[in-house]
């Protein structure tokens, strides 16, 4: 009996964790979408006609079971990459994505070499 209870709660816990992983947060998507007719506002911040329509479309797509990526892909196809604040990695912005890592690695290498040199003295 005890084993059955443990299995039941383990399964329940696993299902809850899975549900959390697969649920799509509409607010997170709204915040990452640019309101194309507003100045410097996201869809989440705006009450314009455009933002209201996009909110409805995103909610519909979430209800249809679309993933966050699929929703972004759909909107990028219709409005271009400009609609998302965090653009996906591609050929054009590859350098921009790489830059922080490159600075981090180069900085780390410089510090390491300096320390090594100091220790050798």
């Amino acid at each position: 009996m005890r084993i059955k209870i443990i299995i039941f709660f383990t399964m329940l816990n696993f299902n809850i964790l899975n549900a959390e992983n697969f649920s799509v947060d509409s607010n997170k998507i709204f915040k990452n979408l640019r309101c194309l007719i507003c100045q410097g506002q996201s869809v989440a911040d705006s009450n314009s006609e455009f933002a209201q329509i996009i909110k409805l479309v995103v909610k519909d797509q979430i209800n249809d079971g679309k993933s966050e990526k699929e929703i972004y892909d759909f909107l990028i196809e219709k409005y271009g990459e400009w609609i998302v604040y965090k653009p996906p990695l591609n050929k054009v912005n590859f350098a921009l994505w790489l830059l922080p890592y490159l600075v981090f690695i180069t900085g780390g290498a410089i510090i390491f070499l300096r320390f090594k040199k100091r220790n050798n003295r």
């Binding site: 271009g80 054009v92 600075v103 290498a109 410089i110």
Partner: protein, 174 residues
Amino acid sequence: MQKKIIKLSIILLIIFIIGVFFIGLNKNSIYDTKGLVGQKITEIKLDHFSKNKIITAKDLSKNNFTLINFWASWCSPCRDEHPILVELNKEKNLKLLGVNVKDKKNNALEFLKDFGDPYDDLARDEFGKHSVNFGIYGIPESILINQDLIIIKKFIGPISKNDYNYIKDTVRKQ
């Protein structure tokens, strides 16, 4: 040797940063429709304004050219472009599909009664959700497509006299 490596890394990093800024600042950050031209419209499912029917891609592929016009009775620039649409209705190779967006049915009908009905077919987008499939972000906007449903041009804002000439020339070339 180590100093040389550090110097070279710093120089390369500076060149890289300048390069990134150069590409970034040269990129047009304003939304335009260049990306849409040449794209095929695949998902067309519009509710007919008065009939219990859905307008699909199949309906539009029967026409040589279709001008899909997104409008509403509450939109004042739509009144400015309306006489041009009435003129365009005379073109043989062109069919006009009006999409009435976020509007009251009665107001839309009154608008067409007052200013004329240029549309060969009229659809209704009650909540504006279908217009997202066409990359619409304001009203009025129009899209000229050919028989293969490929976007030839997108007109943001009311159709001007120049746009009228462009549409006329394009459909007459066929």
